[in-house]
């Protein structure tokens, strides 16, 4: 198996060399047609079995189809430090040839690039397409005295700082949603960071905290043990939670800045023809019936956005987050 793999590697090297040579003589279309001639890898900055990981595995399972990439996509998990390890690795070590891609989580990576010294920011990465959007929702335990957002807000008004919120850590979507909620409602409340969304949800169910922000998908799955009071998005989620109002409906100006967008990105410097090839084909793969069926079976909301839409979304998020987090750091 040694030699076969080695010779394959040699063969691909010669092929690449030939490919490079052909670019010089032939129109660009040829190169783009030949692009995925071996499997494409994708770095996922979270551990296997986590929400980002299994969604990434579902949305890339059809990559081998001729109508999409024609080559399988392989997931490479590099977890650690809330995603920082994987993205740092990707933005500094990955090759810029389109064969090494990564999954992104907005707003996590943008917020981290603002708060910490990271090797990545929205300027050295190129989005390809977005596959999902998981809004943050406000949850309380099923035995909680709060039945509506108003109940919780009036209690928080009378008891400043007494309402404790759990969330999946600092500078992640849940934290952003909390900051927005606190800022827009003018209430004083306390945020308790947890090590991930599951422990945060557990604290809400067990009554260790009074409320929490968590993923819509996780809250939906646990709807028997928690009450969902509001969604931090522009519209209600008609598919999973049609009865839960948005914050805006309740008069609190919390927009979709905390929505956890997941998608695929490449490094800046990837050849433009490869980028355009990927950004044409990948969204089609996300929209395939098989993919969406499997995603909804796993309780994960799908929202496919094109490359242009994601570029715009990233920029908006960065501007807004800089402002929000500047208030926080003081």
């Amino acid at each position: 198996m040694f030699s076969s793999k080695m010779s394959r590697k040699l063969a691909t090297k010669t092929l690449t060399a030939l490919g490079v040579a052909s670019v010089l003589s032939l129109p660009q279309m040829v190169q783009a047609d030949a692009f995925p001639e071996r499997p494409v890898s994708m770095v996922v900055s979270y551990s296997p079995g986590g929400a980002t990981d299994f969604q990434a595995r579902i949305v890339t399972m059809l990559a081998g189809n001729e109508s999409y990439l024609g080559q399988p996509m392989v997931i490479l998990n590099k977890p650690g430090a809330g995603g920082k390890i994987g993205w740092d690795f990707y933005a500094s070590k990955a090759k810029k040839n389109g064969y090494e891609l990564a999954a992104y989580n907005v707003p996590h990576f943008i917020a981290q690039s603002i708060v910490f010294k990271t090797k990545y920011n929205i300027d050295n990465l190129e989005p390809i397409a977005n596959w999902g959007a998981d809004p943050a929702v406000l949850v309380v335990g099923k035995d909680s005295p709060f039945n509506t957002l108003e109940d919780l807000m009036s209690f928080a008004k009378e008891n400043p700082k007494k309402v404790t919120f759990s969330g999946a850590g600092l500078y992640v979507g849940h934290h952003i949603a909390f900051l927005q909620f606190a800022k827009e409602s003018g209430l004083k409340m306390t945020y308790i960071p947890h090590k991930g969304g599951t422990p945060a949800m557990k604290s809400v169910m067990g009554g260790q905290v009074k409320a929490g922000f968590n993923n819509l998908s996780d809250a939906f799955r646990n709807k028997d043990s928690v009450k969902i009071l509001a969604v931090a998005d522009l519209q209600r989620n008609t598919k999973f939670l049609p009865d839960v109002p948005t914050f805006m409906e309740k008069g609190v100006n919390v927009d979709d800045s905390s929505v956890n967008f997941r998608g695929i990105m490449a490094r800046k410097g990837t050849p433009p023809e490869v980028l355009s090839y990927l950004s044409q084909r990948v969204p089609l793969m996300f929209e395939d019936n098989k993919t969406t069926k499997k995603m909804s079976a796993a309780g994960s909301p799908v929202r496919v956005l094109s490359r242009e839409e994601v570029i715009k979304m990233w920029k908006e998020r960065e501007v807004y987050l800089k402002e929000l987090l500047a208030d926080l750091k003081k």
Partner: protein
Amino acid sequence: MLSKRLTAIGGVLLALILLVLGSNVEYGEEAYFFPNLLAYFLLAFAFVLLISDGDLLNWLKEIASFLWRWMFGIVGEGNPSRWPDTVRLIPMFITIFCYLYFADIVGLYTTSFITFLLITVIYTPHRPRSRTLFKSALIALIFTGVIYLIFSVLLQLQAPSAWFI
């Protein structure tokens, strides 16, 4: 004797306090260069004071011989005719270092094969002959093959992209 030792220890403490005062300053680090240098000298003199005390010299000798035995031999009795432990391990340390250094440049499986072979060849109690070398290479190849089967085929581990696999 006691007074001498106390003076010397006092000197060491004083020098250390001065050094702590001079480090971790908020700004103007350059301005502390000269005072810190003086403090290092103070520390050195205080150590000389400590050592010039005969008792402490012996004490240091004991420490040194313990450290020597700890690093290079086994604590307790050892066989003087053989190489000390750490010296025996030096090739191993070098092999490990090269293994880790080259693993993601040359290729994880290739370096693993070479490392396995090197360790077995260096540490075999038999005299190196071409036959034992061949045997070791064969075993190393089989072992790396099994590792490849377990990790790359069965567990789908993605080896880092390198020259070879």
